[in-house]
Each structure stands twice: as structure tokens, then as C-alpha cells.
């Protein structure tokens, strides 16, 4: 546990000492701000964070891997991975430490955006249920995308490869319903079960859609379902485990 916190603290410091955390946070605030404003500024708009959530989860497909792309790729490039792997650290301590750093940074970023909620309470009367479930869903969603991003970062010493692979995996999980819509029966249902949650219908400024069959839909509606929590937790666990395995495999090369 001590090693995990040592690594996490070092990485958090690096995030906030470099432009990365600020650039990603600024982009996140700008984008979610746009969707939030667009979704509540109609004459008869509902006081909800639905637009904010839809924008946030869509753009996290790119922002999470951007935040994590450095974490392991750079260690490989600088050769410092050799130091980490010859220190009395276990691979999972390295992976969890780095993952927590990215998660904390993302939570800070989400925290900064919560002034939208304050705005809603000041000027409207939002429904508290969907608001809380939506934010919970957002955190679950973020943790899953960060795990995918970290895994992508472990694959090579090139950060750009990490970004492209990470966003690629997340995009594939997002557009999976394009594929499933063309299939039928079991195959279609199985694919639907992997729908990450975001949808291109976010750009439809009337609905600010999230994927209907996806795992985020219920969160956005105010329903917390065990299946959705299990899905995001599984994605997180599986990709963190894969990252550990990639690091372990590196020794055997």
C-alpha cells in the first residue's frame, strides 16, 4: 500500500507540474460547458445535467487516453521502467499507483465542473435523483476509460501510440451499436451488452443523446443498476489486469 501511494503522489505531482492536467481540464470544462449551456438555454428546457453528461462521456473517449498516455509509455522511453522493475515493487503496485493518480486528476477535473450543478440550483429546480446517479455514472465511466488508457500506454514507448490505441478501443466500444444494429439474435445482444455508453447523438442538440441500450442510459435517467456498475467495474478491472500482465511479460522478453 505504501508503494502505491508513493507512486500515486509522484504522478499526481507530475500531472500538476506539467501543462497536461491543465490543458485536459480546460478542454473538459470548455466542452462540457458548451453542452451544458446548449442543453439548458432553450425556453422550455429541463433543469438537468443531461447535456453536460452526454458531452463529458463522449469526449472522455479522447481525454482519458490523453491523460494516461504518458504514464507508462514515458517510463519505457526514458528507461526508468528498468528502475521501477528492479526496485522492490510489484507490477500491480506500479499500475494501481499510476491509475489512482490519473483517477484523482480526473476527479479534480470533474469537481471543477460541478459549478454547473450550483448554477442549476440557483436558477432552476433540478431533480436531485438523476443528478446524483448521473455523477456516479460519470465517475464509473471515467474510471473505466482511464483503465483502458493506461493499458494502451503500457503497449509501447510511444505516447501517441498510447493515445491512438486507447481512443481506438474506446471508440470501438462506443460505435459497437452500429455493428449490432446490422446483426440479429444472440450476436446482436452480446455486442449490445458491451456498449460503453456515449453516442454520436450527443451532437443532436434536441436530445443530447447517450446510447440508448448502453450502460450509461440508466445513470442519466436516474436509475442505478447493478448491471451497469458491474460493467464499468469489470472494464476497469480487466484492463488494469491486462496492464499488469503487459508489464510482467516485458520481463520475459
Amino acid at each position: 500500500m505504501r508503494f502505491i501511494s508513493v507512486i500515486a503522489i509522484k504522478e499526481i505531482r507530475t500531472y500538476f507540474a506539467s501543462p497536461m492536467a491543465y490543458v485536459v481540464s480546460a478542454a473538459f470544462l470548455a466542452i462540457t460547458g458548451f453542452f451544458f449551456v446548449a442543453s439548458v438555454s432553450d425556453a422550455f428546457a429541463v433543469a438537468s445535467i443531461r447535456g453536460y453528461l452526454a458531452g463529458a462521456i463522449f469526449f472522455m473517449i479522447f481525454m482519458s487516453p490523453a491523460l494516461t498516455m504518458r504514464l507508462i509509455a514515458e517510463e519505457q522511453k526514458l528507461g526508468t521502467l528498468e528502475l521501477l522493475l528492479t526496485s522492490p515493487l510489484r507490477e500491480f503496485e506500479i499500475v494501481i499507483g499510476k491509475y489512482l493518480a490519473a483517477l484523482v486528476t480526473t476527479l479534480v477535473m470533474i469537481g471543477l465542473s460541478l459549478y454547473f450543478v450550483v448554477v442549476l440550483f440557483v436558477y432552476g429546480d433540478p431533480d436531485v435523483g438523476p443528478l446524483l446517479s448521473g455523477l456516479l455514472g460519470l465517475v464509473m465511466y471515467a474510471s473505466a476509460t482511464l483503465a483502458v488508457g493506461l493499458f494502451a500506454s503500457s503497449l509501447s514507448s510511444n505516447q501517441i501510440v498510447g493515445l491512438v490505441v486507447g481512443s481506438g478501443i474506446l471508440t470501438a466500444l462506443t460505435i459497437i451499436d452500429f455493428v449490432s444494429a446490422r446483426l440479429s439474435g444472440i450476436a446482436s445482444e452480446v455486442l449490445d451488452a458491451f456498449q460503453l455508453g456515449a453516442s454520436f447523438s450527443v451532437f443532436d442538440l434536441d436530445s443530447f443523446g447517450v446510447a440508448e441500450g448502453g450502460h450509461f442510459a440508466d445513470f442519466a435517467r436516474g436509475i442505478i443498476s447493478l448491471a451497469d456498475i458491474a460493467y464499468y467495474s469489470s472494464i476497469t478491472a480487466v484492463f488494469l489486469l491486462l496492464t499488469v500482465l503487459v508489464l510482467e511479460a516485458r520481463r520475459w522478453r
Binding site: 508503494f3 528507461g79 528498468e82 528502475l83 521501477l84 528492479t86
Partner: protein, 323 residues
Amino acid sequence: MIKIEHMSKSYGPYPAVIDISFEVLKGEIVGFLGPNGAGKTTTMRVVTGFTPPTDGDVTVNGYNVVSHSLDVRRHIGYLPETVPLYLDMTVTDYLRYMGEIRGMNSSWVKDRLPKVIDMVRLGEYKDTLVGRLSKGYRQRTGIAQAILHEPDVLVMDEPTIGIDPIQVVETRELISNLGEEHTMLLSSHILPEVSAICKRVLVINDGRIVADDKPGDLSEKLQHAERIEVSVRGAEAPAFINAMRDIGDVIDARSDQRVSSTQRAEREEYLPFIVDARPNAQAAEIIAKTVIENGWGLSNLTPLPMTLEEIFLKLTTEENLGE
């Protein structure tokens, strides 16, 4: 402290190290000498627990590098060939972090850090970003992280590569001083460097250890002999060997054991021999003369490269420090 028994390591189908065995005793400074690509770095990576051996046993401080990797890593300080540094941290922050991931608690780090910074003479740069340091100072930072946690064993891979001559001298002094308290395995492709620092040298080439000696004895061996392969017809083996030994400059003559009996049959009546002679004695000429005087037939007279010498040709045997 370090014990390697019949260790081999392959990367896929490519063997990097083949069946090497050696031991480094407590307090010894052992130089690991070989041309680039000989297997030095691979051996060091196995010793430090970075990569497991394909075959054989390696123990450090009695702990096996595979089954007790964490215990091994706790007792080792390692300076890889490309000094691994976080360029965006200050020297102090970097060293503190390195200490923490080696399991040092904060009071230990606090106590030890100034001493180490002093030892490697980094005092005036301790708050400088590592990325702004010159190569020599980066090297010192690398050495500092290796000795910070007071490891029993120090493993240094080419510690003076790529730094300027004055800093090379300083770095060598530093390493020599460290050798007083640590068991050390140090690699280099520069012969004089190893001679200056180490009391024992292992020469490695193409993944095998070809010599294990004191630096002085090693140089002597190099000037040892000229080796010649001879094939002769019409002579009994003992008669030929005696005739050769009678020549003043010949040190030894023997049947060539590398040639198998089937090959001998193919060569019909020609018998293969190996003759060692003193260097610069025109041995080939005298051997040819002797063979002909005895009425034997001569079919082959080839000088053989001495293995060790061949390796040393590939090594940097001289260095220009520009002093």
C-alpha cells in the same frame, strides 16, 4: 554475494548469454569486460532481477533472482547503461522518490540524502531540474540513486560511457571509493578502465566467459604466444612433436584435438597439429624448414588467431583522456 551457475539467456531464438558461471565474493570489485553486444547488459539485467534467466541459477545474497526477486531487488543498487532519470524533477525530488520506492522511510531518506549528494558532489545542483544537468552530472545522479538505499551489491553498466574525459576521471575515482564498502559488478568495454578500478576481470565474448583473471595477468596472457596449425604427412605423431619441441622458440606442440577421426580419415595420411611459439619468432618459417629437413610432407601451415587476443582487438585497449 552474486553466484551465477550455468546461466543462459535467450531473446527468442537468439542466445545472448550461453552457460556462464561465476561468483562475486563479498567486498570484491569485479569488472565485466567485453565488446558491445557480448552479453554484459543481459547478465546484469538477470542479476538485478529485471529479466529472468532462460536457464540456470542466479542468486544474490543467497536469494534466487526468480523465486525471491523482491528480496534480491531490495539488496541491489543498479545503474543501467542509459541512466534512467525523470527529467522534470529536481535532483533532490528524484532521489527522494527513488529512495521511497526502494522502501526507505522518510527519516532514513532525510538522514541519508545529504550524505549521498555530498558523496557524489552534487551539492550545488541539488535543486536543479535533472533535465538541465550535463551528462556527467546526470551520471552522478544515477550513481546516487544506486547507492542511496545502502545496498549490499552494486551493479553498474558502463558507468563512464559518453561523458567528457575530466568527468570520466572523477567518476572513476568515485566508483573506486564506493568499492571500499560495496560488492560491485561493473561492466565496461574499455580495458584500462577496468584495470584501474577492478581487482578481478571477467572477459565475456559472444555470450561466453573466456577469461577470469587479475587485470595484470590478463595482459600477460595476451602476449603469450603465436599459435600455428600444421598438417604433416609421413611423420609419426611423437616424432613430429619432439622435433617441434626441439626448436628453440616453440613453447609447445600437440595433436590437433579439434579434428575428428572421420575428418582425419578424409585427410588421408596428413596429421593435424597445433604448435605454440613465442611471438615474433618467425615460427612458421622455422617449422616449415624443420618439416622439410625431416623429409615429411607439408600441406597446411596456418597461424590461428588467439581467442582472447581476438576479443581484445575488438575492445578499446587505449583511451585518450586528453590530459
